[in-house]
Symmetry: C2
Subunit: 313 residues, 2 copies
Amino acid sequence: MKPYAFGIDIGGTTVKIGLFETEGNLLEKWEIPTRVEGNGNRIIPDIADAVNGKMQERKMQSEDVQGIGIGVPGPVLNESIVNRCVNLGWGIVDVAKEMSRLTGIENAAAGNDANVAALGEMWKGAGKGHENVVMITLGTGVGGGIILNGKIVSGIHGAAGEIGHIKVSDDEKLSCGCGKKGHLEQYASATGIVRKAKEILENTAQDSVLCHKDEITAKDVFDAARDGDEPAAEAVRFACRMLGQAMAHIADVMDPEVFVIGGGVSRAGEILLNGVKKYYRETVFHASENTEIALAECGNDAGIYGAVKMILP
Amino acid sequence: MKPYAFGIDIGGTTVKIGLFETEGNLLEKWEIPTRVEGNGNRIIPDIADAVNGKMQERKMQSEDVQGIGIGVPGPVLNESIVNRCVNLGWGIVDVAKEMSRLTGIENAAAGNDANVAALGEMWKGAGKGHENVVMITLGTGVGGGIILNGKIVSGIHGAAGEIGHIKVSDDEKLSCGCGKKGHLEQYASATGIVRKAKEILENTAQDSVLCHKDEITAKDVFDAARDGDEPAAEAVRFACRMLGQAMAHIADVMDPEVFVIGGGVSRAGEILLNGVKKYYRETVFHASENTEIALAECGNDAGIYGAVKMILP
């Protein structure tokens, strides 16, 4: 195996780049801005420039590089082609091929960012030692990644692991970002938790510390719940129930070794984890009741770790 | 590759046995009774006798046999060990090892019967030409099998594909066979469809042909619905909604190429298929809306086909 590899995580505002030794050591990481203007047609050349610059700086040849893995915030087919990526302004882009062409690094692979983060957590984080991992990322939205036998499950339309769009409620009146109703993302994302908290506050006579804030964040809701604020606790319970039930659906389908919960909302910690475990166990088929549920450990580096892991054996 | 292979499908009352050429031709199939008495300890020796007898009759040596695959109505670990199989009276039984020992056929593998049937439908039935198939078997209960990249997904506790135990209703008062409430099996199995029809009849003033029967079967419900009987049609719609929603959950997790619906209830045909498609499409993430949904084609032979496929390359 060649000595070096690159892992790239393309986000809507910055691109994270990691230079790794192929044994797995992260040598260096840095960020460049994501230039989405002009249908994002500068993004791949910008990354290639950064990679080529780093190779020059370190006097590396493209022959010294095992490969380059890239996580992208959109669906990816055949580990190469992105089919519409709204956040980056992309239509159909063959990310892997372009990156290869511009860097001279032959072995390139692209994956959906949530899937890639799951691979990163499997390799270096809360999924370490396992090969069957489901990662759920709770941020502005809810993303998911499924790893089976150490490999990303992409699905035939690139839609495997679209956990945020599992329908968990029949009673929803508002639409999810995708256009349908009652999806997990509407309840377990940061936005969803705040929305539910406001709804509870409007329909209760109980006082809450949340009533005395101009702006409520998901963190405020968890903090208040931890301090015994009942309306906030109700909002947290609701999010945990929706998430625990969706995770039970996932286990009834593929029965993984471990669930890893990441993203900004996961910083709520134990109160989230314990709530989710309760509802998961109540709902899931008995054989999977004791499946491990853990908080993510790689933080923002899950993407670059998972990206590089894609091109390692 | 050696010229012959055996595929075995162990059911609660009969064992189906198929002798195959390894190119895939079924040469001969027959059945023997399943002797469940004495904790089912005669079942494997009975099958071995049948296999050994057939080899003698055809003047085959165990060296002429590529392998023997076995479908079992219970969870199977490592393609070999059954851990409790209530219908057969079994505790922990190393099915593959025992079968090898008693027949001299080295290569033996066991799988859960629903998973194995899914493999059979992928190889020779409605999933032909695909490698990512979900099969749902609607019988007395609801079983499922997940095939990814041509291989059975068993799950870490042998509980992958436990589709019948996906929770689809929050309002259920009765318990599922597994002890929990609101599971798909309570609505989309033959038993579940009849139960729902009776519940609808008790709560409606409308007349129905079903009211004039001593005993109602799932077939009666579908037949009446096809003839425009409204209470029966409501029961069918309900079963289709529950099943379509559960299938949407499955697609949101693993995004397969095709769903195959089999088992006795699937003989209802188009009325079932069209109903399920409607609710599936309403619920699933948009990228997977046009996933193929088909009726099973192998009938009772899915088990022996899938069993033999397990030990073929």
